[in-house]
């Protein structure tokens, strides 16, 4: 006997009310990172240890700035989701809520800081 209404079944949302959203977000961001990671490693890597003027000139190039900006946004989003799972697995009770909120602040804080720094360099 089906307790779910047809609409509930189509929505695919159980008692957690989020369905497969977390899983799907991880799938999408990981696929994006498979493209972004090599691009970022080989555009950012050579800049480490270079003089300030060269670094600013390189990051002012739109393509490099776009790669870096996308890497920052997507990777910190991916990290936020991953670290949430980590906390949910090992931390319980009130500490879990505090830890998850703290890591959301860290993730978006670093994302914003990286983007602002990039904007100041590139513009």
């Amino acid at each position: 006997m089906a307790y779910l209404t047809d609409r509930k079944r189509v929505e695919g949302l159980g008692s957690a009310k989020s369905g497969t959203h977390h899983f799907w977000s991880m799938t999408v961001t990981s696929a994006a990172l498979l493209i972004l990671t090599p691009l970022f490693v080989f555009s950012f890597g050579p800049l480490l240890g270079e003089p300030h003027a060269d670094v600013v000139a390189a990051l002012s190039h739109p393509l490099r700035a776009i790669i870096a900006a996308l890497m920052i946004v997507v990777s910190f989003h991916h990290f936020r989701l991953g670290v949430t799972t980590l906390i949910e697995d090992y931390v319980g009770g009130q500490a879990r809520k505090i830890a998850i909120i703290a890591m959301i602040i860290v993730s978006y804080g670093l994302m914003a800081a990286g983007l602002i720094a990039l904007a100041q360099i590139a513009l």
Binding site: T27, S30, A31, L33, L34, T37, V41, F42, F44, G45, P46, L48, G49, E50, H52, A53, V55, V56, L59, A68, I72, S75, F76, F79, G82, V83, L86, V106, L110, A113, G114, I116, A117, L118, Q120, I121
Partner: protein, 127 residues
């Protein structure tokens, strides 16, 4: 009387019960590398902020990242990045229902370990 036995229920086998094997080790490493990458990401964001701030502050931050300790952290982060990327590919393959038998999972596990080290060396040589 729903929770008379709270805290004293039987547990299913877990980390300390199972003998370590390739699949569990590579899975645990995937979690560790993914979360530990926060350190490398934090340093790179700091380096970007330093580059936006000015030449003197940048020289200090860049010096830290290219010091012996900085090099070690960056090299470790690079390996973690490749390891996590390859581990992620394995998960994307598993998500399609393929490669879930022990033999294929083991082969992919060795692929991740050897591949991540190889990619790290190649990247260091190429950069």
């Amino acid at each position: 009387m729903a929770d008379v036995n709270r805290g004293n229920r039987p547990l299913s086998p877990h980390l300390q019960i199972y003998r370590p094997q390739l699949n569990s080790i590579t899975s645990i490493l995937n979690r560790i590398t993914g979360n530990a990458l926060l350190l490398g990401a934090l340093l790179i964001v700091w380096w970007l902020i330093a580059a936006a701030t000015g030449p003197e502050y940048f020289a200090m931050a860049d010096g830290m990242l290219t010091s012996v300790l900085g090099d070690l952290v960056m090299l470790g982060s690079l390996w973690a990045l490749w390891y996590h990327a390859l581990g992620g590919i394995r998960h994307l393959i598993w998500d399609t229902g393929r490669g879930l038998d022990a033999d294929t999972a083991d082969k992919m596990g060795w692929g991740i370990i050897i591949g991540s080290v190889a990619l790290t060396f190649l990247t260091v040589i190429a950069i």
